[in-house]
């Protein structure tokens, strides 16, 4: 016990003595001057992806790599495997390699802040993809215009089943920015042209989409259409609708993932508002080129959306 006590005392003294030389990450240097011009074929881009196990982000990565390859730019990719700490470590490694630009697709908008501050301190410009960052300095955010997508979905429902049709909405995870924005866009149109009888969260999950839709079918008769804020919930809702023996309810999803596109071809899903991750990646690389060559880059760049139907 005495040994342990002695050790503790030494450490405490060490800590007290060191108080004067304590600093925080991202505080040491301040070289946020304009980046030197680099031509695309001399440039190295560091790409941090939230997870490569999701095909959406796989396509995003392809978009970045193809666009970069066309122009002779080197890309270094690190995969965060959906873990915030792994992502920060990966970005630190990219900063160590001295990449010229960082493209970051954050796992979480808050937790990414320290990594972006580190990049700022190292004077490396940052572009975020699909999800924003709460803090730090970012050149631009490349993301789909979710509000516009929600409006597109509502307009399509009006086209298919007419004005004042009875509609229910399956919302995404409460508080998620995609859920808020898609809902906002949908309501912009639906409040005027449709009769929204119920709106409940199914957390972006297929299994919850199934159970929530079952409940909605119990409590509401003669529903004409369903808007699900992502494809997974839409696919769950279809199962519930078919199990209840109902067929002429229009279902529209959001994202355009492979499963949803296949279901549209089979005629089970009516439409989906497709995001274009490949395009998103390509736009991010273009923004990087524009920024280092001194052109003005907008704060937010909308990646295009497309309404996918059976035709």
């Amino acid at each position: 016990m005495k040994k342990l006590f002695g050790l503790l005392t030494i450490f405490t003294m060490f800590l007290l003595g060191a108080c004067g030389s304590a600093t925080l990450e991202g505080e040491q240097s301040d070289e946020s001057e304009k980046v030197a011009e680099i031509s695309p074929d001399e440039m190295t881009i560091g790409l941090s992806i939230s997870t490569l196990n999701n095909p959406f982000f796989g396509q995003l990565q392809e978009g970045v790599e193809d666009k970069a390859e066309e122009n002779g730019t080197t890309v270094r990719t690190v995969d965060a495997q959906d873990d915030t700490a792994t992502q920060i470590n990966g970005i630190d490694d990219l900063i160590q390699q001295g990449v010229d630009v960082l493209l970051i697709n954050p796992v979480d908008s808050d937790a990414i802040t320290p990594a972006i501050e580190s990049a700022n301190a190292a004077g490396i410009p940052v572009i975020t993809l699909d999800r924003s960052s709460e803090g730090g300095e970012v050149v631009t955010l490349i993301a789909s215009d979710n509000v516009q997508g929600g409006e597109m979905a509502a307009e399509h429902i009006v086209e298919l089943v007419g004005e004042n049709a009875k509609v229910v909405q399956l919302e995404g995870t409460p508080g998620a920015s995609a859920a808020n924005e898609r809902g906002e866009g949908f309501n912009n149109v639906a409040n005027e042209k449709l009769d929204v009888v119920d709106s409940q969260s199914a957390n972006f999950s297929r299994s919850e989409g199934l159970t929530v839709m079952e409940n909605l079918l119990q409590s509401n008769s003669d529903i004409d259409a369903v808007f699900a804020q992502n494809d997974e919930m839409a696919l769950g809702a279809i199962e519930a609708i078919e199990a209840a023996g109902l067929e002429d309810i229009v279902v529209i999803g959001f994202d355009g993932n492979e499963d949803a596109l296949a279901q549209i071809e089979e005629g089970r899903l009516d439409a989906t508002v497709a995001q274009q991750p490949y395009e998103m990646g390509s736009l991010a690389v273009q923004a990087a080129y524009d920024y280092v060559s001194g052109k003005d880059v907008e704060n937010v760049i909308s990646s295009p959306l497309e309404l996918m139907t059976a035709e």
């Binding site: 030389s21 925080l24 040491q28 490569l52 495997q81 873990d83 920060i88 470590n89 160590q96 802040t113």
Partner: protein
Amino acid sequence: MEAKSKSITQTKAKRSELFRKLGPLIALIVLVVVVTFLNTNFINPTNILNLLRQVSVNALIAFGMTFVIITGGIDLSVGSTLALSGALTAGILAAGVPPVVAIFAGLLIGAALGLLNGIVITKGKVAPFIATLATMTIFRGLTLVYTEGNPITGFSDDFTFLFFGRGYLFGIPFPVVLMAIAFGILFVLLHKMTFGRKTFAIGGNENASYIAGIKSDRVKYTVYAISGMMSALAGLILTSRLNSAQPTAGTAYELDAIAAVVIGGTSLAGGKGRIVGTLIGALIIGTLNNGLNLLGVSSFYQQVVRGIVIIIAVLLDRKK
């Protein structure tokens, strides 16, 4: 003649003992040399500090895990303990409690969660694997309940708390300093004090140690409490560093910690092991992660390489 052959076997035994101790260290040195050869950026002091900071979280968890594994047990709940104590500490900070108090509260929460493991294992006579598998899901579930599935943010702009995960002391990242302190204390505890000898005795032969008068239940409570507290310390570092408490933080961290312990030469059967080995094991895993990133190896291949290194380490350990 007889004496001569005896001395030969003795030197042989000594040599293999030396190899057992130095094996992981040699592996680490080889790895460092190879990675440096392929990318000289690796050996930059800033990258080494960066690497040590990346290692600190896994190393802290693995230090605690070493005690547990030496008693012949296992602790699968470390990742969930990390998340739950991190989230609760964020909540305590958000309530306006001074950071130093909140940090100590967080460590105590971790120790209490570990103690709970110890009680289930000893009083309930549940196998450590099953007991901690159960508490792993319980703690994760409680984290999700408490955070409602969303990250907790904006709880503290206080320098003391931010310093915990993001600070530098004499240019050394503070998590690395914490790792060094924890290592020093736990080294003394395990290798220089009676408590350590009891820990080894239980893992070697629990019945014999019982006859020898060692109260194995008490030792186990302490061992699991240490593991919980180390996880909580890692959780506090992450919470500070990420500026948010993530409900999914620490998922699958138990595997990296167990890997570090095993690579370091501690036997999963219990009774044998060294905390220095665990530190080296954690450094090997960290060097692989950092080095493979610097070399631009695809993350899919990285997982394959990490698995192969674990198998090689265990095989080398058995050969001698």
